[in-house]
Symmetry: C2
Subunit: 213 residues, 2 copies
DNA sequence: GAATCTATTGACAGAACTGTCAACAGGATG
DNA sequence: CATCCTGTTGACAGTTCTGTCAATAGATTC
């Protein structure tokens, strides 16, 4: 087979998206330069405009691809978790947390979010909260829905925060920054999410009960 | 007093920093244009270079000012919290959470962090973790330091996450996005931080005890 | 009031970036 | 092999942005 110099449109688009996504991870959408993408993808820059119309078109395409990819991963992880055996709860929740925006993809997603891109966050969140509440109800039948919501919010925001400044915070607190350490933290989170009882979560905003330790 | 047309260097610098910070909150450091800052500050753009040397000099100055301002606020809040009466614990911790990067300043700080600016996070974190551990020890003398660290990490990351996507997550979960709602969430966090016992936090990574509900 | 200092600005230079266009070239179809 | 389609590119135009420079104009000092 001779060396192909003309790729199919799909191949070309994927190559360009890969290069663009890698750059966005580093410098964000505002820092993306078509010439830099072209150089990284090994082609001349007009070719990029040919495939995506404009710089903005490229950025939107990257955002869409990241969103769809993450949503697909999260959905499958949740479906697996929903069919997991009760004793595999912690592992299942940990898996969902691990699966949500991972590594560089998380950084890209945060960049997009900060830059005002619409995201597929909402549908993912609603799936996750439903999963979490099923788990909590399986532990205690009258589990409080609002507490589930708050816990999911807490965990979600913490995962986002980890993407932004996880390394810095861990340095400051003396935790390592290895992937093992990050996984350890997520597992700790998953356990917290499952193990907390509604008593600990009682909203004492009106009444302030003395909670025993 | 005649209309002043020449400001003192300090006044000019502050006016420029105000304009630049407002722009960075919206579009991030990479999106900051000297001409836009000049327009917002009501002056010609060379004047900005005169005062800050270059575009990068301006961005660094904004980052420094935000860092110093936040560190000062957090430090005073912590000092007040450390002298609070025991029954004011929740209020004191809530106050510290409220005081950490607030509103637009938080967005600016996240932008800076994503863009690779060095931050004053570390010293702030260490102060906060010390404060938190004092509280936890006052509740139970043998409070576990590592659990304190993990809790502080969790709360810190959640606050960062709230800056990035708090509104989106709250929308998805059906919480309002008013300042009242945000304050409510922070208070809930403060209570969680204080009320959690080490039993709930037992690291079951090695042994997986069945924790009663 | 003269001299000095510096905050301020209009005009300009140079670079970088996006997008256009005509031409080229690989691959598919008849 | 001829033709068509389209992926690909070099050259170019227009815009925008950063930074320079010389000149202007408040403010301060003597």
């Amino acid at each position: 087979m001779a060396r192909k110099t003309h790729k199919s449109p799909e191949e070309a688009r994927e190559a360009i998206l890969d290069a663009a996504e890698a750059i966005i991870v580093d410098v964000g959408p505002a820092g993306l330069r078509i010439s830099a993408v072209a150089k990284k993808a090994g082609m001349a820059h007009p070719n990029i405009i040919h495939h995506f119309g404009s710089r903005d078109g490229l950025v939107n395409a990257v955002a869409d691809r990241i969103g769809h990819r993450a949503t697909a991963r999260i959905t499958t992880a949740i479906n697996e978790a929903l069919t997991a055996a009760p004793e595999d709860r912690v592992k299942a929740i940990t898996q969902v947390l691990d699966t949500s925006y991972q590594g560089d993809e998380g950084r890209a997603a945060v960049w997009m979010h900060m830059s005002g891109a619409k995201s597929s966050l909402k549908s993912n969140m609603q799936q996750i909260v439903e999963l979490a509440h099923r788990f909590r109800k399986s532990l205690r039948n009258d589990a409080n829905q609002e507490n589930t919501n708050r816990l999911v919010m807490l965990v979600t925001l913490a995962l986002v925060g980890e993407v932004v400044s996880g390394q810095g915070v861990k340095d400051a607190l003396g935790f390592g920054d290895s992937e093992e350490s990050r996984a350890h933290f997520r597992q700790w989170l998953a356990e917290l999410l499952i193990n907390l009882s509604d008593e600990q979560l009682a909203t004492s905003l009106n009444t302030s009960p003395e909670i025993k330790l």
